[in-house]
Symmetry: C2
Subunit: 291 residues, 2 copies
């Protein structure tokens, strides 16, 4: 029997595990499922979640399903694959996908669920592991207002800035645009630092000047140090940033919009990925500029 | 006779007029010269400066000369042209060029002045008219430490963050890199806003998400509103931004460094300038993306 106060959480990776833990801390009953079951059981012991054997089993016990996996093929798999969550949900259920996927893919999922009377929100997040941990993520949800209102208390247990940004698909698009701007800003910083190193400039002075003025950015604050130190412990993997930029470029093409700088940035991230940097932090884009 | 406590200020444009006024407020004796003399006299009345008929006359009365003009040809003209400031300075004098010019040009000027025993600092500024007015500019000076120490009290009367960033030419290079990163960040913002408009996204939500996260930048804070409103009252002219990006790209070529994003951004600013936007604020780069 489904319990509307219970939530199925599918995907306990770096982000999902922290987000699910915050739901339990807020008093939500979480039924967790993860591809690697041992990981789910470890977290269940620590945070008092119930572990389900399949997405369908998790969904059966809950009124809402949250998916936080890698990309749209994984979201489709956990929803519509064998023993997928869609099998466990009944009419009136709600799926909240917090994975960053292409808006076209999320619209497709929404339409498919709607046929069974199941609601859908695309509610991706910004902020990496530390902000997932602190429940200070930014969450941007696209979908019907009634679905957003139902999801809001859950989302507020995981994020600080929780916005209903418009109809279905708009959460994903805003997320992709944010990440694409971040990707360009980080690549612009990388090329400036590389040139400054070549010219033997004082990098502390350059950073101080940029921070105090028009060259300032969140990317400078977060990635300036790691880029200078060539320290690429992943907070957000370069492969994932590349995926987001590509989704954004595909969406732009579909709209007839052009993103000339993002197009150029995609080439740099692709070059870094081809050079073996995909599993590192996206600050490693600077390696695509090194001679 | 030259008075070491007196400063010749050459160039009273949007920035220079405010900077010279702050010097007088700090008790510095300013002898001002401007190409359009009426403008100098107006300011002299208001702020109690002395007006000189030529750069040479201004320099003769002073121990240090500050130049704040448009680009290197204008700096060369006011220093070495007919009745140029170099004629009025004697050995031991100091020129502080606060114009943003190419590092190669500033090195050439420094060498030429050094032959007459005259010191040189390249000390460009960041921050536009409001920060020139409030004496909160960022000033980055390249040159000999002894020259910086002499100039420091003057620079501190005009700026808040005043840095000696290294040898001659490094002030200009840091300034150009800062502006180039700003130019790329602004163009990335412009393309994101244009795509968001095409997709009919909620621009307030997009801006809130970017400000709270990885897409945040000083350019978003300063130019997001003007871009959305297509309001291009110039705080920093697009032609001047284009000039800085081009100087930076030329310097990169000389160093063998590559700036792929800045190269792409230059094309967008050039397109906007060709479309008649050169005298507007550089936020008008968004017009290069509109269909």
């Amino acid at each position: 029997m489904s319990d509307p106060a219970r939530v199925a959480f599918l995907g306990l990776g770096i982000m999902g595990s922290r987000m699910a833990a915050n739901l339990t801390r807020a008093g939500v009953d979480v039924v967790a499922w993860n591809r690697t079951r041992a990981r789910a059981e470890e977290l269940a012991d620590e945070h008092g979640m119930i572990v389900a054997a399949t997405p369908a089993e998790a969904a059966e016990a809950a009124g809402a399903v949250i998916t936080m996996v890698v990309d749209s093929p994984q979201v489709e798999e956990v929803l519509f694959g064998p023993s997928g969550a869609a099998d466990g949900l009944s009419a009136g259920g709600l799926v909240i996908d917090m994975t960053t996927i292409a808006p076209t893919a999320s619209r497709r999922l929404a339409e498919r669920l709607a046929r069974d009377g199941i609601g859908f929100l695309d509610a991706p997040v910004t902020g990496s592991a530390p902000r997932a941990e602190d429940a200070t993520l930014t969450i941007m949800a696209g979908g019907a207002a009634e679905h957003f209102e139902r999801a809001k208390p859950l989302l507020e247990a995981m994020g600080r800035l929780v916005l209903h940004v418009g109809p279905q698909g708009h959460g994903s698009m805003i997320k992709l645009l944010n990440n694409t701007v971040a990707a360009v800003n980080a690549a612009a910083l990388a090329e400036a630092l590389t040139m400054a190193e070549t010219a033997e400039l004082d990098l502390d002075a350059l950073t101080a000047v940029m921070s105090a003025g028009s060259g300032g950015s969140t990317m400078l604050d977060l990635k300036g140090g790691p880029m200078r130190e060539r320290s690429f412990e992943p907070l957000f993997k370069l492969d994932h940033m590349l995926k987001d930029v590509r989704h954004c470029l595909a969406e732009a093409r579909a709209l007839g919009a052009t993103l000339p700088l993002a197009t150029r940035a995609e080439e740099l991230y692709a070059k870094a990925a081809a050079g073996g940097r995909g599993e590192e932090d996206f600050a490693a884009v600077i390696e695509a500029l090194d001679k």
